[in-house]
Symmetry: C2
Subunit: 181 residues, 2 copies
């Protein structure tokens, strides 16, 4: 799903600036299954504006820099409704952490331990964030997606907690000396 389409989706929920859209991807309910940075959001909003799928209003704020608030047009809504009907591609789990563990014999023991424990803490924090938010008033879709995310992240966390010892037993991992040669 390209960034233009995802931005249109966010704008179906209400008007927003590029900065606000970015925050939804970073901290909000979208963070567990999609992503986009400023470098793709701002150009996407400009293109959508050029295509008449959104309108833009410059807003002066007190105590903050001005912002450009975008609103979806009826054409934008129709375009989104059509785009979202396409058969979605496969789900993807991507992890440099797992890649490095695959090559665990290249890593010094203490680095493996540190990486696993850091990742356990990271998954705990993410899960807490997913669970803490007030879901009353959420629709069927957002609740389903949030709970799907919880299920997947819980499984990852549980696996790390339960199998941590298998990876960090003495004998796994290389010493600094070996890794350097």
């Amino acid at each position: 799903m390209d960034v233009k389409t995802v931005c249109l989706g966010v704008l179906t929920l209400g008007d927003a600036s590029g900065y606000e859209i970015r925050k939804l991807f970073e901290d909000g309910p979208f963070q567990y299954f999609t992503d986009a940075g400023f470098g793709s959001i701002y150009p996407a909003l400009n293109k959508l504006h050029g295509e008449g799928l959104v309108t833009c209003e410059q807003q002066t704020q007190s105590g903050r820099p001005d912002k450009k608030v975008y609103s979806i047009t009826p054409q934008g809504r129709a375009s989104f409704a059509e785009a979202i009907r396409a058969t979605p591609g496969p789900d993807k789990f991507r992890s440099d952490f797992l890649l490095s563990l695959f090559f665990e014999h290249f890593l010094p023991h203490d680095l493996i331990v540190g990486a696993v424990d850091e990742r356990i803490a990271w998954y705990r924090a993410k899960l807490e964030h997913m669970r803490c938010c007030d879901r009353s008033g959420w629709g069927t879709g957002p609740v389903f997606v949030n709970e799907f995310g919880q299920a997947v992240y819980s499984a990852a966390l549980a696996f790390l907690e339960e199998n941590r010892s298998k990876l960090i037993e003495t004998g796994n991992g290389s010493t600094d000396h070996q890794a350097a040669e």
Copy 2:
């Protein structure tokens, strides 16, 4: 982790052509946590060759096109060992399927049902593929990573199977008529 580094990692396991590396990302043990296409693998191998991190030997084959077989050099091995020590970034789960379910009210009911059932079948097939391979002879890292993947994919599958009904109850999703307007 950039494609150059991942290619180096694969080559630490043995010599391979670009085509073979691609197959490992598509069907092999790497498919559950990393990815790269021909469009990035071939340029990456050329750059690695230019940097002296791999050597290349053209191999004539009978019954098949010629291939370029790459081997990692000691410098390549050292470069990989160093690159893999960097603290890995966050794990990412990316899903256009979940994105479309988030906006479930834009989708006709039959399309939601079809998408969910298709995804259930897809996760079942992936899991079967992960479980069927012979893991005897695998090292600690590959086994750990494979089992992590199984845990995560199983959780996703179980969630879909258990919560399918919540999403496809009558009343969820729009009719074709509403979605088109």
